[in-house]
Symmetry: C2
Subunit: 215 residues, 2 copies
Amino acid sequence: MSAPDPSPAARGADSATRRPGGRTARTRAVVLDAALEELATSDDGDLTLDRIATRAGVPRSTIYRRWGGLDGVLLEAIATFATDQARVPDTGRVEDDLRLWARSVHHTLTDPVSGRAVAALLGRASTRTAALRHRFWSVRSALVRPVVQRAVERGQLPDGTDADDVIRHVGAPLYYSLFVLGEPITPATADLAAAATAAAAHAGVFVRPAGALPA
Amino acid sequence: MSAPDPSPAARGADSATRRPGGRTARTRAVVLDAALEELATSDDGDLTLDRIATRAGVPRSTIYRRWGGLDGVLLEAIATFATDQARVPDTGRVEDDLRLWARSVHHTLTDPVSGRAVAALLGRASTRTAALRHRFWSVRSALVRPVVQRAVERGQLPDGTDADDVIRHVGAPLYYSLFVLGEPITPATADLAAAATAAAAHAGVFVRPAGALPA
């Protein structure tokens, strides 16, 4: 492919050919890219297995056999997207790790392709979308939780610091500013959210009493 | 009105009759309640001046003359709603003030009537809704800013603490948990957001360098 082709389908196919694993892995990647693209661009009513198959250039039966249907392929597309988007830092300093994570969230929300996918997840009220949102954030939380756990082990944060609470407070101001207040977000928005959360974590605000259940 | 009538229209009329100011003020209150109710319950395409007039039981011309049209009456309905919903604390302690403000946000988001109005503001992508959201949050910020300013004057927070940043960080985890993560929020969610923000504010995270422009 010598001439650059900016269309998302071409980008999907291109990134797929770079992934290892042969033809099955390539098909998987192309289908998941197509599913994410359809999710980001179609209205709820137009989001069908047929359209994903057409975009991916594979038979509908291939998708059906592997993922069991529309919900299955969308859930795996979201989980893969959540993983690929996340850049989990490990600098040795919790302040830097949280700042880099906030920058990663900022990138996910402002990059044209991933930002549109997240906006599509948030802009719909359907039960299907709620399940996809839940999958997206549970995959992300699981990836980032070790950042907090490592900080506790290093003695940089107090014992009993709740990792999910920390992660939630880092991301919240970014989503809130962009999607609720409708304000542009910048790297400074990310740095402020990270610094505020780190200060609160140092002060012990996120320590759960021993034996307490997660909220 | 001896028997309680739980319908929103009746509640609107009832609260209007308790407001001071005679017939003009009563008409205003009834129309603004009707506008908010239509906003919360109608699809975008169905949200018209005629429906608000019918619900309020006043001539369309009355609304048109006073507010200039649909956008005008909706903007004033939202500003009034934002003011009525806000309970601005002044306890003398910034930690308590922020906690009470977070509880007020929690109440606004979880009360059936106001929560539905906020969800309607967030669940739509139209330009009109973006303007209404902006009005809602600018009215709220202006009301709560003095909480932070008083804390700075009392020496409880560092000089130069940015009030809007503080307010944004108190509210963000509540909106984020409810509308992005789709998780239920509790008074404990509010208390945690307030405590985290207060700790960060004490640490000076929200201090803007002298001469810095707002982000």
